[in-house]
Symmetry: C2
Subunit: 114 residues, 2 copies
């Protein structure tokens, strides 16, 4: 595939469809090309982002809520305004302790989200 | 330089120093490696992100506020929950109409921010 998938230049949040990710977790795909992708992920209280890994580097920002994050062997509570970094091929998972939203960014893009 | 600069796995927002970017604009650098970097940018009302371009792809999320964004020849008002995508080497700029915060992500990282 030589085609580079790209988003529009502007995204209106209200116009982006919410997609089911897993129980209590939904996502919206924002700006992206083949190199980077921004995704908004909404968690209900108690929702679990199961431990997983991927080759993509991930950087995230906690827009709201409280999350227990595990990355590799480290675990930390994160709240509104905090962030985290997941190196390539590193196991990570989250438990949502208070309903909230993560801004997750992947590099390269998550082809599986398109 | 073969050294890959990487952030810590977890970032506590309150512990990240604010850096002066330009009049009315400050930033905090969150998670990053050489491939991707997440930056929180706080704008006072009326602050202007001067038109500029860079080789990095940029994806952004409007955490709060109202901004007039120009990307290439397109211009749009964006508010809380909206987003935008700046292709590599594309002129872009912003005017802050109501004080707020952008989450800007660059790929590769902004070496000039470290």
């Amino acid at each position: 595939m030589n085609k580079v998938l790209k988003s529009q230049l502007f995204q209106q949040g209200e116009a982006i469809p919410w997609e089911y990710a897993s129980p209590g977790i939904q996502r919206q795909v924002y700006g992206h090309d083949d190199q980077v992708m921004l995704v908004k992920v909404k968690f209900e209280k108690g929702a679990v982002g199961a431990v997983h890994e991927h080759s993509h580097t991930q950087v995230s920002y906690v827009e709201s809520g409280v999350f227990e994050l595990t990355i590799g062997n480290e675990r930390q509570l994160l709240k509104t305004g905090d962030g985290f970094f997941v190196p390539s091929n590193t196991l990570h998972g989250s438990v949502c302790l208070e309903a909230g939203v993560l801004i997750d960014v992947f590099s390269p893009h998550r082809e599986d989200f398109l």
